[in-house]
């Protein structure tokens, strides 16, 4: 008997869920800093070209096959060819392993949210003046280990981790109907908070200095290949393409749903959010640079350094009472939390959908097992060496795992399934879309995206061989980088060879 697949309540619910998945921590802590390092305003040109030639074409593929085959990445690839199922599993399992440490970052955000709420009432910020960086490393991330031993457990982060996985479980356990409701909060809320933070930042002294660094174009960077690699990398990793998430989400749309316009809307919303985040981040960095009398480039402008050192340092220097500073800090970390949580549950949802499609087991049970497993796997990173191990896993799973799996998917769709199937896919997408695709899409899919991915992969591999990574020893790099990256591939092959009740669909 054919399954009765869940459906999104509306097109808006689907778009919001996809946007929620795409917009994550990277939109705030990666895009603005990457733009600044790669030509400021001039970076928008390669970024936009990358969006049109790599991000959107691949997103169209994912929406197209998800809705056409009404299944997860694994199921959709199996329908494209019996031996391709492992590619879908590989994509979702890389995502699952990323979620193990991604949730730790959310756990830290919980800790900051809690501490900021306390500070509103106690009138004292949790980090000492000028010591936000130390506070993060010693009290929040508890980076006390040497990378070779556990070095104790970080209890507050464990509570934060549990809270994150509980939220993830309740978000996905009842399927996309509940996801569609939750994203109506988790997508607009961070946008509202971001606008408020941008308004606060823009009204601070020094804000224009920060904006000048973000917007003023350095045209010479356009001839630097590194700028183009950075633009494609930013677009690629921020749109959630290649993870199997969008295939899973699209599988809950009716078979005849629009594809192309949905992909454009998701991409523009995601990148528009990143663009706006630059105003909030760089106006605040401009103020911080002025308050500390330091060049902006000396401050941490990306990643953990921006979120957990620069921004909290700026918060303590904001004009006003401590409760007001804490309120702004609360807004910032609540924004990070809500940005991250819908990305986290979308990753787990992609795996849950794949397992459900394969084994036809109870959906709630699958979600529960994944969340419990995710919590226990995450404990590895709630240790004294957790921050270092997280760094190693992130390097290997995103730089190599995700890039490689995306490249394989691109080659599969663009070349290996054959011209007939590719043309069928294009005709099917065009038949049900408000906007149409043609030769340009095919060129992007067959040539532009794979070439860029090969260049990216080559670059990160040569960098690793030449410079090593982060000064880490062999043990953390192998145990937390190489092994997880290899393990997901092995698990994907095993999953393809397992028999499941859903295999015959």
């Amino acid at each position: 008997m054919p399954e009765q697949r869940d459906r999104w309540q509306s097109r808006t619910a689907f778009i919001m869920a996809a946007v929620g998945s795409a917009i994550g921590l990277g939109n705030v802590w990666r895009f603005p800093g990457t733009a600044f390092q790669n030509g400021g305003g001039a970076f928008f040109i390669p970024y936009f070209i990358a969006l049109l030639t790599a991000g959107i074409p691949l997103m169209i593929v994912e929406y197209g096959i998800g809705s056409r085959f009404q299944g997860s990445a694994a199921k959709a690839y199996r329908k494209l060819g019996k031996n391709y199922e492992w590619i879908g599993w590989w994509a979702v399992l890389v995502g699952l392993f990323i979620s193990f440490y991604y949730c730790i970052i959310l756990a830290w955000s919980w800790v900051y949210v809690w501490e900021c709420i306390k500070a509103i009432f106690t009138g004292s910020l949790p980090w000492p003046e000028g010591g936000a960086g130390d506070y993060f490393e010693k009290d929040v991330a508890m980076d006390t280990g040497d990378g070779n031993s556990i070095g104790g457990f970080n209890v507050p982060a464990i509570f934060g981790l549990a809270a994150t996985w509980i939220v993830v479980y309740f978000s996905i356990a009842k399927g996309v109907l509940r996801v569609g409701k939750i994203v109506m909060i988790t997508v607009p809320l961070p946008l509202v908070l971001l606008v408020l933070l941008a308004l606060r930042g823009l009204t601070l002294p020094g804000a224009m200095d920060g904006l000048a660094y973000y917007l003023a174009p350095d045209w010479s960077k356009l001839t630097d290949p590194q700028t183009w690699v950075a633009a494609y990398g930013q677009v690629f990793f921020s749109l959630s393409v290649g993870w199997g998430i969008l295939i899973a989400y699209a599988s809950y749309m009716p078979k005849k749903s629009d594809v192309v316009n949905n992909a454009y809307m998701t991409s523009f919303a995601n990148c528009g959010f990143s663009f706006l985040a630059g105003f909030a981040v760089f106006s605040t960095l401009g103020y911080l640079g002025m308050a500390l009398n330091q060049p902006i480039a000396d401050l941490s402008t990306t990643s953990f350094g921006l979120a957990f050192t620069s921004y909290p340092t700026a918060v303590e220097m904001f004009p006003g009472d401590v409760w007001f500073q804490a309120l702004i800090g609360l807004g910032f970390f609540l924004m990070l939390l809500t940005l991250g949580v819908d990305s986290a549950f979308s990753i787990v949802e992609a795996v849950a959908t794949a397992m459900y499609d394969k084994f036809r087991a109870n959906r709630q049970m699958i979600s529960l097992l994944l969340c419990i497993g995710g919590f226990f796997m995450g404990l590895i990173y709630c240790t004294g060496s957790g921050l270092k191990w997280l760094d190693c896993t992130d390097k290997f799973l995103t730089d190599y795992g995700l890039t490689l799996v995306a490249l394989v998917q691109c080659l599969l769709i663009g070349w290996f399934i054959g011209t007939k199937k590719l043309n069928e896919m294009r005709d099917d997408i065009n038949a049900r879309s408000d906007l149409r695709i043609g030769t340009f899409w095919e060129i992007c899919l067959k040539y532009v995206t794979p070439i860029v991915l090969v260049i990216t992969l080559f670059k990160v591999a040569t960098d690793l061989i030449r410079d090593g990574y982060g000064g880490y020893g062999t043990f953390p790099l192998v145990a937390f980088g190489v092994i997880p990256a290899a393990l997901v591939l092995l698990m994907a092959i095993v999953m393809q060879n397992l028999k499941g009740a859903g295999d015959e669909d």
């Binding site: 509306s10 097109r11 224009m208 200095d209 000048a212 660094y213 663009f275 640079g289 480039a297 000396d298």
Partner: protein, 117 residues
């Protein structure tokens, strides 16, 4: 023997050509302090200093930190140049404008999930 001498001379020459990190900072500070130098020149001077003031060179780092506040003043810009506002407008128009356009297309198509409805 002759090769060794040549190599030694070359090594000596290359050492002589490469200024010491602290000297780089001192040289670039002349640019920073030059009232006639434009912002781009000062920014290039700052980047040259940062290139040598690294953790593995504490002496150069200390020399840079001693002048950091002065450098910060020199590379501060109180206004966004017109080209920056143009690029900001370009980014906003393409991204938020693109979103608005696509939403308009979806609305015109009748809402729902797309072609089916």
């Amino acid at each position: 023997m002759r090769t060794s001498i040549i190599l030694l001379v070359l090594a000596g020459a290359s050492l002589a050509e490469e200024p010491a990190p602290v000297a780089v900072i001192a040289t670039q500070m002349k640019v920073i302090r030059n009232p006639d130098a434009d912002w781009d020149a000062k920014w290039a001077a700052y980047n040259a200093m940062k290139e040598v003031a690294k953790k593995d060179n504490p002496e150069a780092l200390a020399a840079y930190e001693a002048v950091r506040a002065e450098v910060a003043d020199a590379v501060r810009r109180d206004t966004v140049p017109l080209s920056g506002w143009i690029m900001g407008f370009f980014g906003a128009t393409l991204l938020w404008g693109g979103l608005a356009f696509c939403m308009g297309v979806a609305r015109k198509a009748g809402g729902g999930m797309g072609a089916e409805e």
